[in-house]
Amino acid sequence: MSGKERKEISVFIKRRRIYTITFISIIALFVFAALITEYDPVKGVLSFPKATVWIASNLIPNAKSLVRLPNILKKLGETALLSVAVTVVSAVFAFFFSLLGSKTTKVNGVIARAVRIFAAFFRNVPDVVWAILLMFSFGQNVLTGFFALFFTTFGMLTRTFIETIDEVSSDCVEALNASGATYMQTVFQGIVPSSLSEIITWVMFMIETNIRSSTLIGILTGTGIGYLFDLYYKRLDYPSAGLVVLSIVILVIMIEMVSTNIRKVIL
């Protein structure tokens, strides 16, 4: 066997060893975590049917809960509109920030790095934590929810827009620069058309995400659909709480369908 062949075989052995080590490590990590948290996997799996039965017998909306439907839909509408407003406002901010942060359109390197760090900070603090922090200054108010969602959405969209701009438009930016176009002309004639469909996809995705998040934040801040869910739940009115959950799910699915269609038209 020549040296080269031996080397080739050792590559395969090495790869198999890496797979084995990874697999064993994951198992070990699971066992370790289960021991510390006193988690019993068997008990965990067995509790599934029990939970399902409880949900089926309690959370299914009944005739009485349907009386509350108009109220639920009104609050749901408010929550949806808030999510749309938050997402659109943050998308506008995020777009201009991402121009500063992108490699192809940055004004200078220091600002670009600062924008990336700034965005990462806003993105990595969970929206619920933002809500709790902001409650100190705004109290239990719609504004608290608005800003909490605004911060995370802004951080998230800035990052994704930067990636989109870098991916789609470096070639046409070079060409427009070479032809003597100004910065703003390059942005609106080159970058916007190139990345519009990706931008819209992300904005629609964030609207969905924000409807889900605003439910949770609403529980904290006592506003919107979250407040209603909390109210029914604490009153032990489980069928109505179930109806709230169901209506949120339907709304999110509807928005997903709409966004798919919008994307089809634009692409």
């Binding site: 060409a175 032809s179 003597g180 703003m184 942005v187 609106f188 058309p193």
Partner: protein
């Protein structure tokens, strides 16, 4: 008066990598010049130093009798409108239509706002259609650029450059991604533009045979230096091997007798 003069141009990236070393050349109005040389020799950097997409570290770039080395902002953009550029990967806005991409050539001559929202005068539109007609793209005018073939995309690239009403066109590997048929069409158009419109053409090429056939002057670049500058018929096999730093039999051109 020469249209372009480079005087002792040097370019170093990050103070370490030397891309261009002491490049001096003069190009007269109406010349058709090919730059050949191995990959990484600095051909692209040289071309981009001319329109200042890359800033030279040292030396002077004199375009149309004016030193453009230190101009910035509005002045630089104005100079760039007089230099069209064509790219290997066409660099079009793929999601826009052909005619919109051609009209982009006018952006440099418009005010920021009017250009940004894409308002063009009737005269500009007429001119764009005239250019499209000249390049045989009339039927494609309203198609989106991502529906076009490579050869058609490159013709849109040429149309965009012509829309600028340039004095000079810089071409960075214009036919490197094209099949031989489309490559010939593109080179014929460039040659035609050069002779009929008297627009100076500076072209980076990998295809030595194409360079020899179309241009009246060849510049050979190796490791950031000009090692040959002269007519194609004086470029012998020996010189060619010096440009590509290769030995007898290592170049694709060695397979057949070079048609010099």
């Amino acid at each position: 008066m020469p249209i372009l003069q480079l005087k002792n141009v040097n370019k170093t990236y990050n103070n370490v990598t030397r891309a261009l070393e002491d490049i001096s050349l003069t190009i007269e109005k109406g010349e058709f010049v090919s730059i050949i040389g191995p990959s990484g020799a600095g051909k692209s950097t040289l071309l981009r130093c001319i329109n200042r997409l890359v800033d030279a570290s040292q030396g002077d770039v004199i375009f149309d009798g004016r030193n453009i080395n230190h101009i910035r902002g509005k002045e630089l953009r104005k100079v760039r409108t007089k230099m069209g550029m064509i790219f290997q990967h066409y660099n079009l806005v793929n999601r826009l239509s052909v005619i919109e991409n051609v009209l982009h050539g006018r952006l440099g001559q418009k005010s920021t706002l009017v250009g940004a929202i894409g308002i063009y005068s009737e005269k500009e539109k007429e001119q764009a259609f005239l250019i499209l007609d000249k390049l045989g793209l009339t039927e494609q005018a309203y198609k989106r650029c991502d529906e076009l073939s490579g050869g058609q995309k490159q013709r849109v690239g040429i149309a965009r450059a012509l829309m600028q009403e340039p004095k000079m066109i810089l071409c960075d590997e214009p036919i490197a991604s094209l099949d031989p048929n489309s490559a010939k069409i593109i080179m014929d158009y460039l040659s035609d533009i050069n002779t009929t419109m008297n627009i100076t053409c500076v072209i980076n090429l990998h295809q030595v045979d194409v360079a020899l056939k179309y241009s009246k002057r060849i510049i050979g670049v190796t490791a950031g230096r000009i090692v040959y500058d002269g007519p194609p018929n004086e470029l012998g096999t020996k010189k060619l091997h010096e440009i590509y730093q290769s030995r007898e039999g290592q170049l694709i051109n060695d397979i057949e007798e070079l048609a010099i």
